[in-house]
C-alpha cells in the first residue's frame, strides 16, 4: 500500500483526460491498422514520383494523406488542357501552361501540412547523365508511363546497387493497367499473419505442467471449477492420457474422441463453458508444435551463411540467425514462446496467473534467445520484442528486375497458357511502350501493336484471342487517362507503396495486371 497524496480534483482532471494530441487524432483510423511503428516509417520516408499526370497525383494523394515525410515530383511538362480536365491536383484552366509539377505539389500539400513536397523541373535525362546518385537518396521511387528508354536506364541503375530504393513501375492506358515493384530484398517482421502463435499445450513448459497437475478439481468450489482456463484442463488431461497410453498422445480418431469425451465428463453442469472450450480446443494436444515450415525455410536463406555473416548484415538477419540457433539448441525445438493469450473462459485471478506463467516463460526464452545474438550488434529491445512476438509470420521477399519475366521464356509461356488475358494485357502495354520509342508521335495501329507483341514473344508464337481485345482497347485510346481509372490505380499503387514503406503486411509479388472493363486483377510472374 502506498500512501499517495490525494490529488486536488482540478489538477487530476486536467492532467488525466489523456486526450490524444492532434496528430494522433488525425491519424487515429490508420494507426489502428499499422500502429505507431508504421506511422513512424511513413513519416521518415522520402518518395520520388516521376510525372505529375492524373495517375501520379492520385498515387501521391494517397501517400500525402496518411503522412509520408517528403515527396519530390520530377516532371518538366507544362499543364495541357487535357491535364486540366482530368487531374484533380491542378486548378483547371487556370493551371494551363504552368509547370505541372509545381502546380501539383502546391495543391497536394494543401491536404496535409505535415508533409514536405518539392517540384523538380529538371529533365530526367540531365539527372541521369550528371547526378545519378540523386535517385538513391529516396526511400521509394514511383514512375507512371515513363518513357521506356528512361525506364530501362532507371531500373538498371537501381538494380545494380543493392542499397538502391525499390521502384514501383506503373503503366496504364485507357481501361488497362499494370504495376510492378522492383526491389532487392524486403524483410517483414509485422506481416499481420492471420495465424496465432502456438500455446504449446502439447509441449507444456515445466511451470505450466506443474501448475496444471497441482489442480485438484475435487477440492474446487463451483466458481473455481467453472472458471479453470482450458489451457490447464487440456495440459492436465493430456498428462493423464499419456500415462495410460505409453507416453503417446491420442492418435486415432477413436482415441481423440475418447479424449474429448473424458474432458466433457469433468463438467459438473452444462453451464461450465470452460470445459466445452477445452473440448473444442483439444486439437491443440495433438497438433504438434513445430517450427512452421515457412520459417524453417528462412533458416536456409543465403544471408545466414557464415560468409554473409561477416559482412554488414541487416538487424533482421542477426535476429533470424539467433532464432535459428534457438530452435536448434533449445528444447523443445520450437519458436520462442510468446505471452499473447487468446480470450478464454476464466476468472480474473486464474487468467492473470496463467498469463504470468506464459509471461515468465517467454521472458526466460527471450533471455536465452538474446544470448544467441551477435554481441557486436546493438539491436533495440523493442525490435527484439516485436520480432519474437511476430516470429511465426516472418517474411523475406526477394524481388526480380523489371523485364526479367519476359526473358524467362518458360515461365512466360506458362503464364500465357494459365493467364492468357492478363499476360496479353501485359504484352499489349509493353508493345505500346515500345512503339512510343520506334514511332514517336504516331498513333499505334492494331497491326503495329501485334507486330511488337510478336517481337517480344518471338515470331510464330501462338497468341490467345485475348490479345486482340487488349490491343483493341489500346488502339482506341492509347494515351487517354480517365480520372476515375487514375483514382482507382492511385489507390492500388499507394496501398502497395505503404506496405513497402512500413514493412508491414505482404506486398503484391510480380506484375499486378488490372482490367477495368471486367474489374478484375491478377498477378503474373
Amino acid at each position: 500500500m502506498v500512501d499517495t497524496e490525494s490529488q486536488d480534483i482540478e489538477t487530476a482532471t486536467t492532467t488525466l483526460q489523456s486526450a490524444p494530441d492532434a496528430k494522433t487524432r488525425r491519424y487515429d483510423r490508420q494507426l489502428r491498422l499499422w500502429a505507431a511503428t508504421g506511422q513512424a516509417a511513413l513519416e521518415l520516408s522520402r518518395i520520388l514520383v516521376l510525372s505529375s499526370d492524373a495517375t501520379s497525383t492520385s498515387i501521391l494523394k494517397n501517400l500525402v494523406l496518411p503522412g509520408i515525410g517528403h515527396f519530390t515530383i520530377l516532371d518538366d511538362a507544362r499543364v495541357s488542357p487535357a491535364d486540366a480536365g482530368n487531374n484533380f491536383f491542378l486548378e483547371g484552366p487556370r493551371s494551363i501552361g504552368k509547370s505541372r509539377a509545381e502546380e501539383a505539389v502546391r495543391l497536394l500539400l494543401e491536404m496535409n501540412d505535415g508533409v514536405q513536397g518539392v517540384a523538380d523541373t529538371r529533365s530526367f535525362d540531365s539527372i541521369m547523365d550528371t547526378d545519378k546518385d540523386w535517385f538513391s537518396s529516396f526511400t521509394l521511387i514511383i514512375s507512371h508511363n515513363l518513357h521506356p528508354t528512361r525506364l530501362d536506364k532507371l531500373s538498371n541503375l537501381l538494380s545494380s546497387n543493392s542499397s538502391a530504393p525499390p521502384l514501383i513501375i506503373v503503366r496504364s492506358s485507357a481501361f488497362l493497367a499494370e504495376f510492378f515493384i522492383q526491389f532487392h530484398e524486403h524483410t517483414i517482421i509485422e506481416s499481420h499473419s492471420e495465424t496465432a502463435p502456438s500455446l504449446r499445450i502439447d509441449k507444456p513448459f515445466p511451470a505450466l505442467l506443474q501448475h496444471a497437475l497441482s489442480l485438484d478439481y475435487e477440492k474446487m468450489d463451483s466458481t473455481e471449477h467453472g472458471h479453470t482456463p482450458y489451457v490447464y484442463i487440456l495440459v492436465k488431461a493430456m498428462e493423464g492420457w499419456k500415462k495410460s497410453h505409453g507416453g503417446n498422445p491420442p492418435k486415432t480418431t477413436d482415441e481423440r474422441k475418447e479424449f474429448k469425451k473424458g474432458i466433457l465428463a469433468l463438467q459438473r453442469n452444462i453451464d461450465e463453458e470452460n470445459f466445452e472450450e477445452a473440448e473444442a480446443q483439444a486439437y491443440r494436444c495433438w497438433a504438434e508444435t513445430k517450427v512452421p515450415s515457412e520459417i524453417a525455410q528462412l533458416f536456409n536463406d543465403p544471408a545466414l551463411e557464415p560468409a554473409a555473416h561477416a559482412q554488414s548484415r541487416q538487424p533482421f538477419f542477426h535476429l533470424l540467425a539467433a532464432l535459428k540457433r534457438f530452435t536448434e539448441e533449445v528444447e523443445p525445438h520450437t519458436l520462442p514462446l510468446t505471452s499473447t493469450l487468446p480470450d478464454m473462459k476464466a476468472d480474473t485471478t486464474s487468467y492473470i496467473h496463467l498469463q504470468r506463467l506464459y509471461k515468465a516463460r517467454a521472458e526466460e526464452e527471450k533471455a536465452i534467445f538474446q544470448t544467441f545474438l551477435d554481441k557486436n550488434v546493438d539491436i533495440d529491445e523493442d525490435v527484439i520484442d516485436l520480432f519474437l512476438k511476430n516470429a511465426h509470420g516472418l517474411q523475406v521477399l526477394r524481388g526480380r528486375r523489371w523485364g526479367e519475366f519476359e526473358r524467362d521464356t518458360d515461365a512466360f509461356s506458362g503464364a500465357l497458357a494459365s493467364y492468357p488475358k492478363e499476360t496479353c494485357i501485359h504484352l499489349a502495354l509493353s508493345a505500346l511502350a515500345n512503339l512510343t520509342v520506334k514511332q514517336p508521335g504516331v498513333a499505334p495501329t492494331a497491326e503495329a501493336l501485334r507486330g511488337e507483341v510478336l517481337a517480344i514473344v518471338g515470331q510464330g508464337t501462338e497468341l490467345p484471342d485475348a490479345l486482340d481485345e487488349a490491343i483493341g482497347e489500346l488502339e482506341r485510346a492509347p494515351a487517354a487517362e480517365l480520372p476515375n481509372t487514375a483514382a482507382l490505380l492511385g489507390g492500388l499503387v499507394a496501398q502497395e507503396a505503404i506496405k513497402m514503406i512500413t514493412k508491414q503486411y505482404v506486398p503484391i509479388k510480380g506484375y499486378a495486371v488490372i482490367d477495368l472493363i471486367d474489374t478484375t486483377t491478377a498477378t503474373l510472374g
Binding site: Q7, Q355, A512
Partner: protein
C-alpha cells in the same frame, strides 16, 4: 438539348470521350445522381464523378467534419472542422468542373421529405455510408422507386462494391446480414464478466441514464416478459428511481458541485450493495466489491478492507485481495504485473501491446489508468458534462469524438471493471470498442470509389451483363475479387414486394380510404375518358392485413384503426404502408407515401392513387414438396407458371435484359403499379407458408414482442451492437461491411 454539346470546354473531356465514347459522355451531363455520404468513400466518389462529367449531383450527409477524418477525407481541411461535410465537400469539388451542378444537403437520408417521389428523380444512387441502418433504408427506397443503387463499404484494407438493381440483381436485403452482437440485459446491468459488458453498460446505460432522455422503464417491463429473473428486475426498478435524484442534482447549479460524488456513490456503491443482497445471483459467480469514493481518493481503498457485504465470502475469488488500484487487476496488462505497488496516481504502466493492431504502443491515451486515475477522470468528465447540461444542452449522447463522453465512458467502465474484478481497457481501446471504430485509410477508399464509378457507368450504359460484385481483399495475389451478379432471392421481404407510390395528405386521409383505394374494385379499368362505366382496376376487395414497417395497423378481425387518419397512425410522408393478403394468395403491395404535388388544389381529393392500380402476382398453390430440396421449389414453380413470364436467364445465371430502346433513362424505369405483365416474380406457396410473405408473417408473429421494436434501452443496446476486435489480433466483426 439532345444533339448539342453540353460542354463548354471541349478539351476537358478529350480523354473521357476517347475511352467512354461520346454518346455516354454526353449522356453523363444530363445524368442525375444521388450520392449518400460525404465521408471517406464519399469524398473520393464526389471527386471522381465531378471529373468524369456527371452533370447533376445531389450530395447528402448529416455529419460534420472531425479532425480524425482528415487522414482520408481530402476535400476537407483543418479549418473546416465542425462544418457540414456535404456543404464543404460540394464547395471544394465544385470548381473542378464548371459543368457539374452539385446540390449539397446537410441532412439525414431517413427524413420524410426524401420520399419515393424524391428518389424517383434520380437516374442512379451511390451509397457511401457507414452504417447498416441507413444502407437498408436507401436500399428499400431504391427498390421502391426502381432506381439502380451502387452499394459500398470499407474496413481497413478490405472493401466491397455491389450494384443493386431491382428485378435484375439481388437487393441489399436478399441476403441476411449478420445481426450485431448483443448481450442479455442482466449481463450488462448486474453480472458483467468481460470488459465489453462494462463498456456497453457505461455507454448505453449509464451515460443515457444520467445525461440522456428520461426513461420510462419499458425496458424492464420487456425483460420481465421475456422471463428474466424477477427479483433482479424488481431491484433494477428500485435503482431507476434513485437515478432521478442524481439526474436532478447534475442539472441544478446548487448541487452540481457534489453531483459526481452522488452519482458515484449510487452507481458504484449503493447499486452494488443492492445487487449483493441477492445471494442467489452470486452462488456461482465472483461477487463484486462496492467502491468507496473517499477511500479511493485518498489512496486508502483496498479490496481487502471492504466488508463482503451480504452473504458469505466463501466464493470470493481472491482477485479482489489487491490493494488500491494496483494494476494487477488489468487482465491484459502483463507488463505491469511484476509487482507494481506504486499504485494510485502513478504514471501507470505504458500501454501493453495488446491492442489489436499492435496497439500503436507509446501513444498518449494508451496508458493504463489506476483506480484513482479513473476516479479522477470520472469526476472530471461528469462535471464537464453536467456543466454542458446547465449551459443549455438538452441531452448528451455518446459520440466517440466527444472527449467528455469518451472520458466518462472510459472511467465508468473501468470503475465497474474494478468492482467486478474484470480487466480494464485504455481510453484508446474503449474508443474503438464503444465507438464502433473501423480502421479507415485513403487507399482503400480510392479503390472502392473507383470501382463504384465503373459499375455506375455500366448501369448508365444499361450493360447489365457487365455488372459485378467486387471485393477488395487481403490476398496479395488477387487484390480485387470479382463475382457475377446473383438473381433476387425469391423470398426477399424487401425487393420482392410490389411497390407503388401514393401522393397523399396523411392528415386528411384515413387508412380505410388508402387501403380500399389501392385494392380497387377488380373491374377492368376504363381505357378512355369516354368509356365512363369502366371499373377502377386493382384486385378488388379482399381480406388483408396492413402494416407500417413492423407494426400491425389492421387485420381482417381488427379494424379499429381503419377510420383513423394516416397521420394519427404514424404513417406519414416517407413511410410505407404494406398490404398483405390474408389468404397469402396475392403478392404483397408496399404503398410508399409521398407528399401531394405543390400545385395540388386545396379542394381536390387528398389522395392520388397510382394509375393503373397495382395487381400483384398471384401465388400458386403447389403440392407439398419434399423437404430435401426446398430451395429448388421457387424455380420449379416459376418455370411452371403461366401467370408470370420469368425473365430469361443466361448461362452465367445473369438475368438477361430486354433493352427497351434508347429513350431517356427515366422512361426505362420499372413501371410502378404494373399489372400482371409488369415486373416482379410470382411468389410460391409451399407447406402452407408463403415463400414471398414468409418474412412479413414472421414479423407479424413477432409483433407482440414489442420490446424489440419500441425505442427502449434494450433495443438501443442491440443497435449499439458493438463491433468487437476480439482478443489480441482478433478478426474484426462489424456491421459496416458485409464480406461473405
Amino acid at each position: 438539348m439532345v444533339g448539342s454539346s453540353p460542354h463548354k470546354n471541349p478539351g476537358r473531356y478529350r480523354h473521357a470521350e476517347a475511352i467512354l465514347g461520346k454518346d455516354l459522355v454526353d449522356r453523363l451531363a444530363d445524368t442525375k445522381v444521388l450520392l449518400v455520404g460525404a465521408g471517406g468513400i464519399g469524398c473520393e466518389l464526389l471527386k471522381n464523378i465531378v471529373l468524369t462529367g456527371f452533370g447533376h449531383i445531389t450530395l447528402l450527409d448529416l455529419d460534420t467534419i472531425d479532425l480524425s477524418n482528415l487522414n482520408r477525407q481530402f476535400l476537407f481541411k483543418k479549418k473546416d472542422v465542425k462544418q457540414s461535410k456535404a456543404l464543404v465537400a460540394a464547395a471544394t469539388a465544385g470548381p473542378f468542373n464548371p459543368n457539374a451542378h452539385i446540390y449539397p444537403i446537410h441532412g439525414n437520408i431517413k427524413e420524410p421529405q426524401f420520399d419515393i417521389e424524391w428518389f424517383k428523380g434520380f437516374d442512379i444512387v451511390l451509397n457511401a455510408l457507414d452504417n447498416l441502418d441507413a444502407r437498408r433504408h436507401v436500399n428499400k427506397m431504391c427498390m421502391a422507386a426502381g432506381v439502380p443503387l451502387i452499394e459500398s463499404g470499407t474496413a481497413g484494407y478490405l472493401g466491397q462494391v455491389q450494384p443493386l438493381v431491382k428485378d435484375r440483381t439481388e437487393c441489399f436485403d436478399c441476403v441476411a446480414k449478420p445481426t450485431p452482437k448483443s448481450f442479455p440485459v442482466c449481463t450488462i446491468r448486474s453480472t458483467p464478466s468481460q470488459p465489453i459488458h462494462c463498456i456497453v453498460w457505461a455507454k448505453s446505460y449509464l451515460l443515457p441514464q444520467l445525461f440522456g432522455e428520461d426513461e420510462d422503464g419499458s425496458e424492464l417491463d420487456e425483460a420481465e416478459k421475456h422471463g428474466e429473473n424477477a427479483q433482479e428486475i424488481a431491484t433494477l426498478r428500485k435503482e431507476a428511481l434513485a437515478y432521478k435524484a442524481v439526474r436532478k442534482a447534475l442539472r441544478s447549479p446548487a448541487t452540481s458541485a457534489d453531483a459526481a460524488r452522488m452519482a458515484f456513490q449510487k452507481v458504484f456503491n449503493t447499486d452494488i450493495l443492492n445487487l449483493l443482497s441477492m445471494s442467489d445471483m452470486w452462488r456461482t459467480r465472483p461477487k463484486p466489491t462496492p467502491l468507496d469514493f473517499d477511500l479511493i481518493q485518498n489512496g486508502a481503498f483496498s479490496f481487502l478492507t471492504q466488508p463482503a457485504a451480504a452473504g458469505s465470502s466463501a466464493s470470493f475469488t481472491g482477485s479482489h485481495a489487491l490493494a488500491n488500484g494496483v494494476a494487477d487487476l488489468s487482465v491484459d496488462d502483463s507488463s505491469s504485473i511484476a509487482g507494481t505497488s506504486a499504485a494510485a496516481g502513478s504514471t501507470g504502466a505504458d500501454g501493453s501491446t495488446s491492442a489489436p493492431a499492435n496497439g500503436g504502443g507509446g501513444l498518449k491515451d494508451q496508458r493504463r489508468l489506476s483506480l484513482q486515475d479513473n476516479l479522477a477522470m470520472f469526476i472530471g468528465s461528469a462535471d464537464r458534462l453536467a456543466a454542458r447540461l446547465r449551459a443549455g444542452e438538452d441531452t448528451i449522447g455518446f459520440d466517440k469524438d466527444d472527449d467528455d463522453t469518451l472520458d466518462f465512458v472510459t472511467a465508468s467502465a473501468n470503475l465497474r471493471a474494478f468492482a467486478y474484478g474484470i480487466g480494464r481497457k485504455t481510453r484508446w481501446e474503449v474508443k474503438e470498442m464503444a465507438g464502433n471504430i473501423i480502421p479507415a485509410i485513403a487507399t482503400t477508399n480510392a479503390i472502392v470509389a473507383g470501382v463504384i464509378v465503373l459499375q455506375a457507368l455500366h448501369v448508365l450504359r444499361r450493360a447489365w451483363k457487365d455488372l459485378r460484385n467486387v471485393h477488395l481483399q487481403f490476398k496479395p495475389a488477387v487484390p480485387l475479387s470479382t463475382i457475377r451478379m446473383c438473381a433476387p432471392n425469391p423470398r426477399c421481404g424487401v425487393c420482392r414486394d410490389m411497390y407503388v407510390c401514393v401522393r397523399v395528405d396523411p392528415a386528411r386521409v384515413t387508412l380505410r380510404e388508402l387501403v380500399e383505394g389501392i385494392l380497387g374494385d377488380g373491374e377492368r379499368e376504363s381505357q378512355s375518358s369516354e368509356d365512363g362505366d369502366g371499373g377502377k382496376g386493382g384486385t378488388g376487395p379482399r381480406d388483408v392485413s396492413v402494416y407500417e414497417d413492423k407494426r400491425v395497423l389492421a387485420d381482417p378481425d381488427w379494424e379499429d384503426n381503419m377510420d383513423r387518419t394516416l397521420e394519427s397512425l404514424g404513417a406519414g410522408r416517407g413511410k410505407f404502408v404494406t398490404i398483405v393478403d390474408e389468404e397469402e394468395q396475392v403478392g404483397t403491395v408496399a404503398v410508399g407515401l409521398a407528399a401531394l404535388p405543390p400545385n395540388h388544389p386545396q379542394d381536390a381529393p387528398a389522395l392520388i392513387l397510382p394509375s393503373p392500380l397495382p395487381v400483384p402476382p398471384k401465388f400458386i398453390k403447389l403440392p407439398p414438396v419434399t423437404p430435401a430440396s426446398p430451395e429448388k421449389t421457387p424455380a420449379q414453380a416459376l418455370a411452371g407458371t403461366s401467370l408470370k413470364r420469368r425473365a430469361p436467364t443466361d448461362d452465367d445465371g445473369i438475368i438477361a435484359i430486354d433493352d427497351e430502346g434508347s429513350g431517356p433513362p427515366d422512361a426505362k424505369r420499372v413501371k410502378v403499379g404494373g399489372g400482371p405483365n409488369g415486373h416482379g416474380h410470382a411468389h410460391v406457396h409451399t407447406h402452407g407458408r408463403s415463400a414471398g410473405n414468409g418474412n412479413r408473417k414472421a414479423r407479424a408473429a413477432g409483433a407482440p414482442e414489442a420490446g424489440q421494436e419500441s425505442p427502449s434501452k434494450r433495443r438501443r443496446l442491440e443497435e449499439d451492437g458493438l463491433v468487437l476486435l476480439e482478443g489480441a489480433g482478433g478478426r474484426m466483426v462489424d456491421d459496416v461491411i458485409e464480406i461473405e
